[in-house]
Symmetry: C2
Subunit: 362 residues, 2 copies
């Protein structure tokens, strides 16, 4: 008789006894139903998929006693008003990008990404252990919210351009569809930022109403067909080096939750966060191949363009920090953490990745 | 009256009503106590800390009804026999490194890292969405275990060397303390791998009993004081580009858990996984500065050394795959996913990181 069979017969040993008596249904857990609007169309199965998964994992961890129903942007709340709906208690939780709300206060940008901010790993380490979460939640408290980590896209692309960008001069007068705070940095270089919803970008590019458009990265971009009308596909998207997606929870609703449901919610967010990052890392490579086959021309921003953008972004950050104490506090914390982070990242991580990238092409 | 105040007075609106009635104590949840031995001394607050946190998060999500007690290596189970204890049901769960068990079967290496395997992000994406988890759990089933994601160290360092390594010739006869499967690749280049427990490495290096030793990275290495006796600190640790830490759960104990406790356990692992990665990314930079101040000489492995190691590792993988069907299946899945992953990673991620690393030194 094998040892394993023996253990089965004798009831899994002493340590297993408790597990046998466990009821399959968690009868005593309170039943709670929440609604989670998002800023995403269901077709964005990366971003919307992450929100859906977070809700699903909360259900699984509570035997479906804590249920969260997700909604696409516009279903019950307009996609860009998710924060407002959470703030005023219309809904309990929302899944969105913090920087959509930078018009209320530029400090919102840090909950997603700030131009020339850190990559995904360093951004997440700052949020978890570098004081980021505490600083952001102190700020979000003004909006009656707290944040939970709930996704990341990794470094994004710099967008689709009808003409090549060879020098900083080529940015002058360029009508670029770009979301968030980065448009203000690009304005310093003469770019005319355009706010256009996802579905309207393609016709605007095709007609030449705009000259260029940034969206996310290969997997999400491929669905919108930009390669046909603006084939120059630039990288990196320096305004989104590792953007976080946060779920906002109404503070009163959060405080009313039992502690164990708070813990479930937070851990489900981490699970969804990892799934979303994995989903991008899995789906971007084949999408990039498809885009290249469809005529996309992959181009790095030339070094002088990157340097000019870096200078413009840093100037913008200093200007905003001079008049906005919240922005200043968060920016200084993130920048210090990021500089530190890269002092290590450039050693083993970048060294290894560079070698592996060269050896992964065969 | 502000809208927010109004909402408070009227009881948070309809959606909030359910949360007010929620009991603070989860009376109906089954009480379960598990034991989790680890392979780590408590002084490794990254690795042991991750295991501890996973246990803590399970408690928090279940109102402490599901309790997991963690143990340092050797407390109730020898550090390198954690898998065995889980397999035979002595304990329900263990936190260890899969590749410690490569002597039983080299396929165990993939649950941590294989030489010249992918970085943390790609490794994790493979585990979550690239079929890695399913393939590994199919293999672990032979040992009556399933795995849960429970940590990552990121790219490790290549170790501490008394003398410089300038050419592949310098590896011949080198007595190198190295754990896991990588030693077999290095044997092809003349290295004499040494298995030495953490606490014994320093005296062996000091006396010259060994010529070099690899451990983890700056934060963990700094505690052991290698800089004094073997100052040449090489990178990258190509045998550990993004090693996962997995928690092994006894399959019978896992199957006996209510589904919601399975979900809690898995999500707690993801939380701990993210904490551990963040902890390394936060703690490595200052530790590296301390090491440099203490006389460490940071050196990249010269390109010919990296190429010779790559060739040796690939030969080893082919040899093992030829005689081990499990190894072959997992290796092919991981390699294909990794090659794909880097075809995207080298674009926006490496492009962005390289720029940011150059601009983070001021």
């Amino acid at each position: 008789m094998k040892r394993r069979d023996f253990l089965k017969v004798t009831g899994l040993g002493a340590a297993g006894a408790a597990t046998i008596a466990a009821p399959a249904i968690a009868q005593g857990l309170p039943e709670i139903k929440w609604r989670m609007p998002t800023s995403w169309p269901k077709s964005l199965d990366t971003l919307y998929g992450g929100a859906e998964l977070m809700a699903k994992m909360v259900g699984e961890a509570t035997d479906n006693k804590f249920q969260i129903q997700t909604f696409a942007g516009g279903e019950i709340v307009p996609g860009l008003q998710v924060l407002d709906a959470v703030q005023n208690g219309t809904v309990e939780i929302g899944h969105t990008a913090s920087y959509y709300y930078f018009g209320k206060d530029p400090t919102f940008t840090f909950g997603s990404a700030v131009p020339f901010g850190p990559n995904m790993r360093i951004n997440q380490a700052w949020y978890m252990l570098g004081g980021g979460r505490e600083l952001l939640n102190e700020f979000y408290k003004k909006y009656n919210c707290i944040s939970l980590l709930a996704g990341n896209t990794g470094a994004q692309m710099g967008g689709w351009y009808r003409k090549e960008i060879k020098t900083p001069e080529d940015l002058k007068g360029l009508k670029l569809r770009i979301g968030g705070f980065a448009g203000r940095a690009l304005q310093k270089l003469g770019v005319v930022p355009q706010q256009i919803a996802g579905g309207d970008i393609y016709p605007a590019l095709e007609k030449g109403t705009i000259d260029a458009a940034e969206w996310v990265g290969p997997y999400d971009d491929e669905k919108l067909g930009f390669a046909k009308v603006a084939p120059n596909y630039y990288y990196p998207g320096w305004w989104e080096g590792g953007p976080m997606l946060l779920a906002f929870v109404n503070l009163d609703k959060w405080n009313a939750l039992p502690k164990y449901y708070q813990a479930v919610l937070e851990q489900a967010g981490h699970y969804a966060n990892n799934w979303m990052m994995a989903k991008y890392d899995q789906a971007n490579p084949p999408a990039l191949r498809k885009l290249l086959a469809a005529g996309a021309k992959l181009r790095p921003f030339p070094a002088p363009v990157m340097e000019a953008c870096y200078k413009a972004a840093k100037e913008l950050h200093s200007e905003v920090a001079a008049t906005n104490a919240d922005f200043k506090k968060v920016y200084e914390s993130l920048t210090s953490f990021s500089n530190n982070g890269y002092s290590w990242f450039q050693v083993a991580e970048i060294g290894y990745d560079s070698f592996m990238a060269r050896h992964s092409q065969g």
